[in-house]
């Protein structure tokens, strides 16, 4: 529910691309950046618990929280030194914010393109994984229906949940494939459905 504690987190999701780009400039490696992003979402969630809070611009609010997360990160890493937070990155972010309307309109126009990019990314999944995903999300099949349609024996049905789990993660990764800042995250390993 939009009035629930989840509201800020859900509203901030469209800005994940720029948020992550900012955090990547603050962090020392991609794993730390992912960590900072998750912490940003956790704090957005906590902020939503106070139901009297009114936020004018969710984007500016999310960036303020991300900056605080980055400051804490810098402090923890350099106990004796003053924290170093890339100021230029932050001004980028604010600039980004000023032009947010424009960006949003652009995003809406790109929705179709984004779907194609998603399909492209998913098309590279291992065949069976891709087919399961297709049956689940395009055709709305249940697990049993998927097994029947693909003629999978009972023994391998359990594997489906593995594949679907990959599908869940894949979806999350590729749902942002259209945003250049994280395109580098999509890199299918030889191991199958994982992403890094």
């Amino acid at each position: 529910m939009t009035n629930g504690p989840e509201r800020f987190l859900l509203q901030a999701l469209p800005y994940e691309g720029p948020l992550l780009a900012y955090l990547q400039r603050c962090a020392h490696n991609p794993a730390d950046a992912a960590d900072l992003l998750q912490e940003t979402y956790a704090r957005l969630l906590r902020a939503g618990v106070t139901d009297t809070m009114v936020v004018q611009s969710i984007k500016a609010f999310a960036f303020t929280i991300a900056r605080n997360v980055a400051i804490d990160y810098a402090r923890a890493r350099r106990v004796n030194d003053p924290p170093v937070i890339p100021i230029d990155s932050m001004s980028d972010a604010q600039q980004n914010d000023a032009s947010s309307d424009h960006t949003d309109v652009e995003n809406a126009a790109n929705a179709q393109q984004e779907l194609e990019l998603l399909a492209a990314a998913l098309a590279q999944m291992p065949e069976r994984c891709r087919r399961i995903f297709t049956l689940r999300k395009v055709y709305g099949y249940s697990q049993a229906e998927i097994a029947a349609a693909l003629n999978i024996s009972e023994n391998t049905v359990e594997k489906i949940s593995d594949w679907r789990r990959d599908g869940v993660r894949i979806t999350c990764a590729v749902s942002r494939v259209g945003r250049p800042s994280i395109r580098c995250w999509i890199n299918w390993g030889s191991g199958g459905g994982g992403y890094r």
């Binding site: 956790a42 869940v168 999350c172």
Partner: protein, 335 residues
């Protein structure tokens, strides 16, 4: 804390939820995991939002075409750096020609997202003056622009009281269909897949497939082929896209009683009534005895008042077993 580990665990939980209903034990374990850290809950919410978003792939489906497990491959566009502009333009025009572009609601941008949990209810006033009421366990995305009003019913049931605006049609995306209104009141319910019910309480609506060029559809001059539903009628869209319209009859006056938290059962079978009650409550009724599933019952109950419903059933000679605190088993009383 490692973000990747948390995300992996969140994905596992999401996959478990997606596989069907969780057992009481699993449900408790999930709640415990979510409560362990804000990071857990945040990661879960984020993945869930993406997973739900992936339902948009349903729009790629062409009605009446055979199952194609490699559909995604045919829609995949080669990586951008290898595609010239002209190729992109061709891809776009093909999509327009097949009408796919028209049927795809916008992704995130400018979209407001509302959801209720089990037993929840929300009344959402929109900026155009329309009102959306969300029933239990339901989810909508709302996208209002100067030219269009678009709502996607992701799951569950919602009532729409649409502010009149002939310049800006009000479209509700539900499964494979779009319900179009100009100014009216109606309820849309998704039963999963393409199974959708549209119940009109005032005015009328048109039901179209996403591959119809919507810009050409106005309610004043509808082609014969477009089914419309009028006040006092209910339409059911089954899998495969066939639409049947029937009069609501006496049920009409209670059709929206859920907006007041009431359930009206008018000669429903016990199985139907129980299924309806279970939508709203964590404690679930289970019919343990097939011989009582078809008995007919009627009456009005508060949707969250499990106790009263159980008491009423008991008074009609149905045995209530509450050994398991989460489940109320119903069977025929032994004489």
């Amino acid at each position: 804390m490692k973000a990747d580990k948390v995300e992996r665990e969140a994905a596992e939980w999401l996959a478990a939820c997606d596989a069907g209903s969780l057992s009481a034990q699993q449900e408790a374990a999930l709640q415990a995991w979510l409560a362990l850290s804000d990071r857990h809950y945040a990661a879960f919410l984020r993945l869930q939002a993406c997973w739900v978003e992936a339902d948009r792939f349903g729009q790629l489906r062409v009605p009446n075409e055979p199952l194609n497990v490699d559909l995604l491959r045919s829609h995949a566009k080669p990586p951008p750096h290898r595609v010239s502009r002209s190729l992109l333009a061709i891809a776009a025009s093909v999509l327009v020609a097949t009408g796919l572009l028209m049927g795809i609601p916008p992704l995130w941008s400018g979209t407001e997202h509302y959801a209720t949990g089990r037993g929840g209810y929300a009344r959402i006033p929109l900026s155009d003056g329309s009102i959306v009421a969300l029933n239990t366990d339901s989810e909508v995305r709302v996208h209002l622009t100067e030219r269009r009003r678009e709502v996607t019913l992701v799951r569950g049931e919602a009532q729409f009281i649409v502010a009149h605006d002939t310049m800006r049609p009000f479209d509700v995306y539900a499964g494979s269909k779009i319900v179009r209104a100009v100014g009216t009141a109606f309820v849309v319910r998704r039963f999963g897949g393409d199974d959708v019910q549209v119940l009109v309480t005032s005015g009328r609506v048109a039901i179209v497939a996403p591959d119809v060029q919507l810009s050409e559809v106005t309610l004043s001059a509808l082609p014969e082929s477009i089914p419309t539903v009028r006040a006092g009628e209910v339409a059911r869209v089954r899998n495969g896209g066939q639409i049947s319209v029937s009069p609501l009859g006496a049920a009409a006056q209670h059709a929206t009683s859920w907006t007041e938290g009431r359930l009206w059962f008018d000669r429903l079978t016990l199985a139907q009534a129980v299924a309806e009650f279970n939508r709203y409550n964590r404690r679930q009724f289970v019919i343990d005895d097939p011989s009582i599933a078809d008995i007919h019952i009627g009456g009005a109950f508060d949707a969250d008042d499990v106790e009263s419903f159980a008491a009423a059933l008991k008074s009609f000679g149905i045995k209530i077993d509450e050994t398991n605190p989460d489940i109320i088993k119903l069977s025929k009383a032994q004489l």
